[in-house]
């Protein structure tokens, strides 16, 4: 997918979303992200960050406008097709508590492959390399996810998000529960892995000190006014 640079990873035009007509609304005139681009989105809570992420990964559908992810028109796809697209092309890392507590580390990492319909045996080798590269040693793989430290759990989340070779990695304040040492390690690992997969990253945070890792920056306020990322 990354071999076709002509298709932008994300392309949205005149996107409009609201829960109730006349109430709060999110309006995004234009945004284009080339594949491999890393975007830092900064926004205070209540600025519509979560809504934007829900739109980008196809959980919610825009009221009007266009939203193409990897050339696929998310605004016209059925909810099942959007779920399918998310399983195959979009990886998500949350703030914290990214893992299903009763599954092992390995099963957590393999979760999206299940929904993408890929055989476990196909991805297992890749999963082991990925987990190793993220500094998760083999003896942790079959432990319950909850026995790991928060930093380790977040790294398992990266492995899970990147395992299906997604086009897009969406991270929603994934470092907020980490201390500063862990945070730097996490950021470097995440972006390095994303790069080696040719994956576009959208990173949402209110922590401006993390901006240094990114080549483009966007403020929710600017986004709503239709400014192109600089």
């Amino acid at each position: 997918m990354t071999d076709k640079p002509k298709i932008p990873a994300i392309e949205l035009k005149q996107l409009l979303f609201f829960y109730q007509a006349g109430g709060w609304q999110l309006s995004l005139p234009e945004l284009t992200l080339q594949s491999g681009q890393h975007l830092f989105v900064r926004g205070a809570s209540g600025s519509g960050k979560t809504t934007l992420l829900n739109l980008l990964c196809g959980i919610t559908k825009p009221v009007s406008g266009e939203l193409n992810v990897n050339g696929q028109p998310l605004h016209t796809l059925s909810s099942r097709a959007r779920d399918n697209l998310r399983a195959k092309h979009i990886g998500v890392v949350f703030q914290q508590l990214n893992l299903i507590p009763y599954l092992s580390v390995m099963d957590n990492a393999l979760l999206s492959n299940h929904f993408a319909g890929i055989q476990k045996s196909e991805v297992q080798p890749r999963a082991t390399t990925l987990l190793n590269r993220l500094g998760l040693s083999p003896e942790l793989w079959h432990q319950a996810a909850t026995t790991l430290s928060v930093g380790q759990q977040q790294r398992v989340a990266i492995a899970r998000a990147l395992l299906p070779k997604p086009t897009l990695l969406i991270a929603d304040e994934p470092t907020s529960a980490l201390d500063s040492d862990n945070r730097d390690t996490f950021m470097r690992l995440m972006l390095a892995e994303a790069d080696s997969n040719g994956c576009t990253v959208i990173f949402v945070s209110h922590d401006q000190s993390l901006m240094q890792y990114f080549n483009s920056y966007l403020d929710m306020q600017q986004l709503a006014q239709g400014v192109k990322p600089c």
């Binding site: 979560t50 992420l53 099942r80 949350f94 999206s112 993408a116």
Partner: protein
């Protein structure tokens, strides 16, 4: 994977799941148990007499006649005179008959005077004849054949001497002590009131009452057993008799003719019809029991759904992760359904095991105390219907948390509300 998720998720919440499983097991066992006892009791009940076309007694209600002639419950209001009995037997349609003479007892067990024909023609369950476990059929006047339970409970062996009491109470003040009986045979267990009966010849009933009048010994007129044997022992009356007809087609005709018999007011009943009527009365009670056990089951299922609903809050994170990795909301719905079905299915299996073990333990007691013969065969077509019904009911109830999971998945999206 779906199965693995459901299994591990249940294991993760094993505390509440265990309690749910326990309450479901008990209520399903209760439901299946009551249903099983009901059908077993009915078959045990309706199999008390078979192959008999008519039961004839003095004029009374059909239930009363059925109860005292077959179940040895209650008493006859009047007797049938011996000449009338002999005259009716001459009816061309009548193949065989079993005379029954009641009124005495032995330590709480009813004594029944009858003839050899009883052992030849009486049938129970699926036309099974009576079989002797030990000894032989009585031939002498002062000989008796005991029902299986009488012999077992009182510990009687062949050759033992017993004496009968006048009346049917457990404690009797008037005994027929002067004319003891010898146990010559013990019947095999039948699971019917036959097991609780002491059988003697009709002539024996006559013999022990020779020196009695109006229910009391005649003062100053004591006959020894030998003297009694020398007397004319033709019965003056009997309590009732069972009739087998040559052709079943004639049943209603013969019944009508007996009911219209001029010389004496008589009642002839069809045992099958009377049993059905009696069962219908008892049926009210067992239907009520069934209803109660259904409500208990419903309460247990609602309890399961309640715990599921309570757990939905702590499972939001799990649901959001599944959604983020590409699960469709339907997947979450199916996951919840699957969890419910696993718990229900496990509960049903353990309920069946529980029921089997309890029946195994209680079987003898039920047989001894209530004369109920309950088989251990608990898996029947009916059980499968119940099992299917329980599964459907739990599936219907599980749609509530299922739909909540589905809707929350759509509304919350990727947010994890802590």
């Amino acid at each position: 994977m779906l199965m693995k998720l459901a299994r591990l998720s249940l294991w993760n919440r094993r505390g509440t799941v265990l309690m749910t499983w326990l309450s479901l097991t008990i209520s399903i066992a209760l439901l299946l148990g009551i249903d099983h006892l009901r059908t077993e009791a009915k078959s045990s009940f309706t199999s008390t007499v078979s192959g008999t076309d008519l039961i004839v007694g003095a004029r009374s209600g059909q239930l009363n006649l059925l109860l005292y002639s077959v179940f040895r419950i209650g008493n006859a209001t009047a007797n049938i005179s011996w000449p009338s009995y002999q005259r009716i037997l001459k009816h061309p349609q009548i193949d065989w008959s079993i005379p029954i003479s009641l009124g005495d007892s032995h330590r709480g067990y009813r004594v029944m005077g009858t003839s050899d024909d009883y052992f030849n023609f009486y049938r129970y369950a699926n036309s099974q004849p009576l079989k002797l476990a030990e000894g032989k059929v009585f031939s002498g006047v002062f000989e008796t054949v005991l029902g299986a339970e009488v012999a077992q409970k009182l510990g009687y062996r062949i050759g033992e001497q017993i004496s009968l009491s006048h009346g049917v109470g457990e404690v009797s003040f008037s005994q027929h002590k002067d004319k003891p009986f010898t146990v010559v045979g013990i019947l095999a267990r039948t699971g019917t009131p036959v097991d609780q009966t002491v059988h003697v010849k009709l002539e024996a009933i006559e013999a022990i009452h020779l020196d009695w009048q109006q229910g009391a010994p005649i003062p100053g007129r004591q006959l020894t057993a030998e003297q009694a044997l020398a007397a004319d022992l033709t019965p003056k009356s009997i309590t009732a008799f069972m009739v087998g007809l040559k052709s079943r087609m004639a049943t209603f005709t013969v019944q009508r003719q007996i009911n219209e018999y001029k010389q004496e007011p008589l009642t002839a009943i069809l045992p099958g019809v009377a049993l059905a009527e009696l069962w219908q009365m008892l049926g009210m009670v067992e239907n009520l029991l069934l209803l109660i056990s259904l409500l208990v089951l419903l309460a247990a299922l609602v309890g399961m759904i309640t715990t599921l609903l309570a757990s939905m809050k702590e499972r939001q994170r799990e649901m959001a992760i599944l959604r983020a990795t590409g699960a469709h909301p339907w997947y979450l719905f199916v996951l919840i359904q699957l969890e419910v079905q696993i718990v229900t299915l496990l509960s049903m299996l353990s309920a069946a095991a529980l029921l089997f073990v309890s029946l195994f333990v209680l079987q003898d007691k039920l047989a001894a105390e209530f004369g109920l013969f309950i088989s251990l065969q608990i898996i029947k077509l009916n059980t499968l219907y119940w099992a299917g019904g329980v599964m459907v009911l739990s599936a219907v109830l599980a749609t509530i948390p299922g739909i909540i999971a589905y809707r929350k998945a759509l509304a919350d999206g990727l947010t994890i509300r802590l």
